[in-house]
Symmetry: C2
Subunit: 188 residues, 2 copies
Amino acid sequence: MPSPDPGRRNERSRRAILAAALELLGETTYAELTVEAIAARAGVGKQTIYRWWRGKGAVILDALSETAATDVALPDTGDLRADLRAVIRATVAEFADPRLSATTRALTIETLSDDALAEQVRDRLLRPQLDAVKARLRAAPEVRPGVDIDQAVELLFGPIYHRWMLRTGPLTESYADGLVELALAALR
Amino acid sequence: MPSPDPGRRNERSRRAILAAALELLGETTYAELTVEAIAARAGVGKQTIYRWWRGKGAVILDALSETAATDVALPDTGDLRADLRAVIRATVAEFADPRLSATTRALTIETLSDDALAEQVRDRLLRPQLDAVKARLRAAPEVRPGVDIDQAVELLFGPIYHRWMLRTGPLTESYADGLVELALAALR
């Protein structure tokens, strides 16, 4: 009888751990989430998690970035306003969602304290979406030539962070649409 | 001989503590700063600090907000572009300064973890500046009627936070000026 393939077994454990982490995030808060609970739910030992990750922040980052990769899906209907509304409404809704907001808050705290994690959050969790929007803006005839596309994308997402972090106003659809109008006026 | 006025003595201790906190922030990192060190430098007991503040975050907030109040000084030269450049360049320079950036980062972490502190940071440290810029925008003939002034001010400051938190680009004067141009285009 051949021995079980360790690579396949590892991959199965890895997927079980990431799935368990996301499940538990849906049932508890990030603050209450522990590596022990993830291990128990995934049916692995705690040391298996620590062999692959530095802590719960890193596990959650991996779990979220695998979901995010399939999530981005910036529409390209040919109508820049409609496409930006879709992506900005979705982003605003994420920040307005109490559970997602708590996770984002926790990840933000961890990234502000941990440069290595910050780089990974940026490159794996956020960059795919930012890059998709940048590509869309670069190709859009509505955007005037010479606009700095890095700054353009920050004009769309930065105000949402600001309002969310400082809790200075509602995070609603009409807020999202207003933001898109302001950004479009800046970029035309 | 009259006994010393306790109100005056308290005020003297309070000022010594705030000054000590700012001094120490200039010599060490926020992470290394302790309530003990502030007390020693101010020549008071640790318990004096804990009688008035919940921890170093609250002390730093008080110290910074007393400085900030005199700092705001948004110019009003009648030239909106010049005035916004001045305030946005100064803000970008603050975020680019390694020491100030470390303090801001620490305060951001504390505000993300502590709702009461978040409210105070927002209302005492940030709102005076945001309000000054809002008043300037509201009065400016360059801004078209009907613009949401809350969103306008977020369009100026939000992108700076975004770039600073995610470290996605340089925080330079030319970046600051580019941001002002984009915001002005949005608001005209």
